[in-house]
């Protein structure tokens, strides 16, 4: 299954190479993210799913290649232009990343207070509307330490959409959530995408949740996109790797065993040594 060309990409990653130390995380990676849809980037842990989000947002610099967001090369922008571009991007971090010294209301109000001069009479209803959208208007006085993991993520989501961005990135939104918070988040991502006309990019390895909302999916493995298409395309795929990943088989193209020397030889060595 090849990367199909997308008619109206909002994000284009072109020939991207990125390494950490001597380890190459991405090698000549190219893909596009369509405008106005929910796109999922999936892959096993440690394939650099979070890294790709940070590269797109310009928090990390690639060794080679470019990332175009709305036609602008993210890594060639001056700091101020980059910050301007970031105002149209929201990111939901895995941990929520709420500022621990501010309460829920102030956390959501933070981007507005930093970037606008709105008086409190206008600011307050705006924040309450965003909190209402994530169902936490009642929790506005709580401190981040008093929130459950799922609630913290919802507050962070309210904060991510407070500047009315065009693109929202979700970094592992479902990791470590109970079934109810998972359901809430799945619904929120879908609803917000529709009502705010967003482009959503969800990075995750929770197959069922992601396939239920995504309109376009890329599967990442060992620094490359190994498959992409609609959820139906992937479910009907005849690639062994895609099948193993989506159905969660323990063994397959991704071996159950970490590379090691021959099992029998290894045991014999021990017997000889003793």
């Amino acid at each position: 299954m090849q990367n199909k060309s997308i008619s109206n990409p909002i994000i284009e990653v072109k020939n991207l190479t990125f390494s950490r130390g001597s380890r190459k995380i991405f090698n000549n990676l190219s893909f596009s993210i369509p405008c106005g849809k929910i796109t999922a980037i999936m892959g096993p842990s440690g394939t650099g799913k979070t890294t790709i989000l940070k590269l797109i947002a310009g928090q990390l610099k690639p060794d080679r290649g470019q990332v175009l967001v709305k036609g602008l090369d993210v890594h060639k922008l001056k700091r101020q232009k980059l910050y301007e571009l970031r105002r149209v991007m929201g990111m939901l971090f895995q941990s929520g990343a709420l500022l621990t010294d501010l309460n829920v209301f102030e956390n959501v109000a933070f981007p507005l207070r930093e970037h606008t001069n709105l008086p409190n009479e206008i600011l307050s209803p705006l924040i309450k509307m965003k909190l209402q959208a994530v169902g936490l208007r009642g929790a506005q006085k709580l401190m981040p330490a008093e929130l459950s993991g799922g609630m913290a993520r919802r507050v962070a989501l309210a904060r991510a959409i407070v500047l009315d961005p065009e693109i929202v990135f979700y970094d592992e939104p479902f990791a470590g959530q109970d079934p109810i918070s998972m359901g809430v988040l799945v619904e929120l991502i879908q609803k917000l995408n529709q009502s705010l006309k967003l482009t959503s990019v969800v990075v995750s390895h929770d197959v069922d949740e992601v396939l239920s909302i995504a309109e376009y999916v890329c599967i990442l493995s060992e620094g490359k996109i190994v498959a992409s298409g609609t959820p139906e395309d992937l479910l009907n795929s005849n690639s062994d790797y895609v099948n193993q990943f989506i159905k969660g088989y323990a063994d397959g193209p991704v071996s159950f065993h970490f590379p090691a020397k021959n099992y029998v030889e290894d045991l014999k060595d021990n017997a000889n040594a003793s």
Binding site: K54, A57, Q59, R79, Y83, E84, R86, R87, M89, G90, M91, F93, Q94, S95, A97, L98, L99, T100, F110, P111, E114, H115, A156, R159, L163
Partner: protein, 260 residues
């Protein structure tokens, strides 16, 4: 042939590593210093840090100052009484406190109490992705997080140092006049004649400004470069205290040579 080549290569990589980290530190320092005016504009952020770094450091500074003053005058008295010049104990304590012990001991205590807290705070902010989140919200952490902390340190440490000196002198007065029986008229007049405003007091304040910049930059730099795990943050905290304490002692020697 292999051995000496390896040896040379190791030295080379050490030097390159060292230069790289110095470069990184200098780059970090400049990037904070150029946004310092912003810290003053955002007065509420600055005020919060002044409270956190300054007001909360007061108990340890007051206690330490009091005891250092008392011990200084006890020891000084024992030496001076042999020469029948125990009245000089006042000026001796005041000069050692104002010139050396005030700035240096306050700096060391500040590194232990506030510097370590700064490193841990920044390290944890990074490991919980708060710094990344700020960047994503198009808020520059240099302006919002680091500059107010540096500015607050520069404002607070000279004040703490002066408070330390004042409390130390009170401690010294209680011991020498109240307990050892030094005549209090002599105690104060000796101090007045020997302590000079420009040479002693101003120089002491200049010293503590240097120490404040040093401690704040070391703490912030260690926090920013901490490996974002619990072990990494604890190591960075230790490094902050060790590096800034040694830095204070070294810098104090240099400044003393230049000033007095």
């Amino acid at each position: 042939m292999q051995m000496p080549v390896n040896f040379l290569a190791n030295i080379g990589s050490l030097v390159i590593g060292l230069l790289q980290s110095i470069g990184k530190a200098l780059f970090f320092m400049t990037s904070i210093i150029i946004v310092m005016p912003y810290a003053i504009k955002r007065f509420n952020l600055l005020l919060k840090q002044i409270y956190f770094l300054g007001v909360l450091s007061l108990p340890i500074i007051l206690t330490a100052g009091f005891f250092v003053g008392m011990v200084l005058s006890l020891q000084g008295y024992l030496v001076l009484v042999d020469f029948n010049s125990e009245e000089a104990v006042g000026s001796m304590t005041a000069l050692s406190l104002i010139r050396e012990l005030g700035p240096v001991v306050t700096g060391l205590l500040f590194a232990g109490r506030a510097g370590s807290a700064l490193t841990a705070e920044i390290g944890l902010m990074r490991s919980t992705e708060q710094i990344s989140a700020l960047e994503m919200m198009a808020v520059d952490p240099n302006k919002f997080v680091y500059a107010p902390r540096l500015a607050a340190s520069i404002i607070v440490l000279p004040m703490l140092s002066m408070i330390f000196v004042a409390v130390g002198i009170i401690g010294s007065y209680l011991i020498s006049v109240g307990w050892l029986g030094v005549y209090d008229g002599f105690f104060w007049t000796q101090m007045q004649t020997h302590v000079d405003w420009n040479n002693d007091v101003i120089n002491g304040i200049i010293k503590s400004i240097f120490f404040a910049v040093l401690v704040a930059l070391v703490s912030l730099f260690q926090g920013v470069n901490a490996i974002p795990t619990s072990e990494g943050v604890s190591r960075a905290t230790t490094k902050t205290v060790v590096h800034s304490s040694l830095g204070i002692l070294g810098l104090d020697f240099l400044l003393t040579v230049l000033m007095f």
